[in-house]
Assembly symmetry: C2
Homo-oligomer: 393 residues x 2
């Protein structure tokens, strides 16, 4: 047990005396050290099996190459520049971020991310000021964006005027998810035209994210016809998601895919995406701190250590690796509630046992940790700061 | 816009060269400055109305004093030492923390927290080593703990032997919640006896947290009878929760209460606890980034900015202050989905409008932010680091 995280102390130091950041001391955390046995780590702790992670990176890279689509990995799953660097080294064609703050962290990392896609409507004076600052600070980074309305496109055009940098802007399409995006192919064509007429902007193509194949196929088929009917070349098409890799080749015109979760996997990609729990690289190690009844075990990982999202699955909150038939049926802030009645009493865990939980959604789980551990063969190899954690802006 | 948070940069600096903390640069975030107009803040941002917060602190303090129970505030709601200091200054009798890491942050703050209650089963070699270090480092702090099994009590006794410091240990009772805690009053008596026989430990009393009055009244009535029947004095009784303040006076023998959420309130304490949305001090300000259909608005705050917990309410994810009849019906990681069909089309928000959302659960919402804003009369007064954010251990 060696190094210390001093981040909160630094925040204090920087804030002291400027009237904004009140002066308090914050004790640094003690971190695991390389070589520490994973089984001895204090819990709860999020541990990534590096062999599995590397296999996941190789598998999806090869899969995308077979399909002939660019693999533009989404960093929202891990928010860790060092992991993204491994994905790019394996062949990924640039990175996807979801917030400008994530772009800032990855750009500043010094790890060479020169092609960043930010598929999110950026608007508002404060946000556009930050976008200007980013573009001026990183002339060597190609940042591309999306919009789903003329209002957003017009704001981005003002940014190009202020910075002297052109921007490639894609049109976000709602091809069946019911979130953001134009809902009709004709609107996509119209918005592409608006983008092209606005100073400083070029049209990148069509961006979408959906849960299911059918509406994506229908939307993109119609969109390509609309563009063709207008005498325009077929636009590029970028789709997203790990589960969606199973069917993305059915969508006409796809040139790029943006998978995120695949690097770690989670209970959702297993139950809904056809992966296996043996593919799951990220688990929360948690101690059984109470066995108040014969059936119930209480874990020291609650909704601040494991996402409380049920993800449209079966209502359970995670998969307990050592007890796959146990039911993790509730989380309060610092307690996980598990039912071990599927096991003989003699087989159920004891107070003090440490278990590994695969969360329903690894992306929101990682986002709760300041740092996570990378391990191999049961020993710590690296401790990564979750550098873009909490960058909600 | 003035100060910068350098925490991640500091993490890097500390880690550089030790082989654990990989060397990357992380750009600091720009913070709001005092006097900034709240309406101009970049979104999403969590803003606390200080007038409301102060009124909430005064109200519950006076309420506990009328009941004659000590108000041992729970810091898990805000994790901010400066706010806890205001609560203690208003009359709170010490603080409650839920994890040892929170105790470390509050002890190190220098804000004078000398009486800390940690109602959680601490066990395992790594955890107990940290507990020893805490006790040795802070001889002036009275740290009291709980247990619900002899295994935990025995571990705590070894800590007293190593540190030479006695520990007051309470017995956690499951008075109806179905979480941790002994489930029978007789077990509480037996465990109190075990605690008293173990070297270095003294019995503090009975600790519980439940959702409802009836089982608490039943359990504590029976427990007091069991202790009386054994010829022992009535134990102290500590209960918890903000909603629970409504009925805690019905529970026999209560000497202390541990409310947390009341400092900010949230949609749960309004819908289930009888408070009002006008009491809610903490809101997430969020921009409408898309209006893809006549009814739907997409907000730039998703499950990484607003807790995805439904909290046993109506399935919605928050209350939109400006549109109380709107339905915030879904959150993905960086998007909130709102249905404005309860309003005339002409009254619905436009792309670019900023709305304030009261989350279902403010405690897990605050836990996602590195810093939050305190404001009065629409202007920033303070920016607080969420100093114990992410201290899951």
């Amino acid at each position: 047990m060696a190094a210390a995280v001093g981040h909160a102390g630094k925040r204090t130091a920087i804030g002291t005396g400027n009237g904004v950041w009140p002066s308090i001391r914050v004790e640094p955390e003690t971190l695991p050290a390389p070589g520490d046995a994973v089984e001895d780590l204090e819990t709860p702790v999020l541990v990534v099996d590096l062999d599995r992670m590397e296999a996941n990176i190789r598998f999806v890279q090869a899969y995308c190459e077979r399909l002939g689509v660019r693999n533009r990995i989404h960093i929202k799953t891990h928010k860790i520049p060092q992991i993204a660097a491994r994905q790019v080294a394996a062949g990924a064609a640039g990175i996807t971020v979801q917030k400008l703050g994530e772009a800032e962290v990855f750009a500043a990392s010094g790890l060479g991310f020169e092609d960043i896609f930010l598929p999110y409507n950026l608007l508002g004076a404060a946000k556009l000021r930050r976008l200007c600052a980013f573009l001026e600070r990183y002339p060597g980074i190609e940042l591309s964006l999306t919009c789903d309305s003329a209002v957003v496109a017009e704001g981005l055009s003002t940014v190009t005027r202020k910075t002297g940098r052109n921007l490639k802007v894609w049109v976000e399409c709602d091809a069946g998810l019911g979130r953001a995006g134009v809902t009709q192919p004709r609107q996509a064509l119209d918005l592409a035209g608006i983008i092209e007429q606005l100073p400083g902007l070029t049209f990148g193509g069509l961006m979408s994210f959906t849960a299911d194949a059918e509406p994506s196929v229908a939307f993109m088929t119609a969109a390509l016809a609309v563009f063709r009917g207008a005498g325009r070349p077929a636009p590029e098409v970028t789709m997203g998601g790990t589960r969606q890799l199973r069917w993305v080749e059915q969508v006409p015109g796809v040139t790029e895919h943006r998978p995120g979760t695949y690097v770690f996997h989670d209970r959702q990609t297993v139950l809904q995406g056809g992966w296996s729990f043996d593919d799951c690289a990220g688990t929360v190690r948690t101690t059984v701190v109470s066995r108040p009844t014969a059936e119930r075990g209480i874990l020291d990982a609650g909704s601040k250590a494991i996402t409380p999202e049920t993800m449209g699955l079966d209502g359970l909150l995670g998969h307990i690796v050592e007890y796959p038939e146990a039911r993790l049926y509730r989380l309060s802030e610092e307690h996980g509630y598990a039912d071990f009645s599927a096991y003989l009493e003699s087989e159920r865990p004891q107070v003090g046992d440490v278990l590994a939980v695969v969360p329903n959604h690894i992306c929101t789980t990682v986002n709760m940790y300041d740092w996570i551990v990378g391990a191999r063969n049961g020993h710590v190899e690296v401790v990564w700061p979750v550098a873009a954690r909490g960058r909600v802006r």
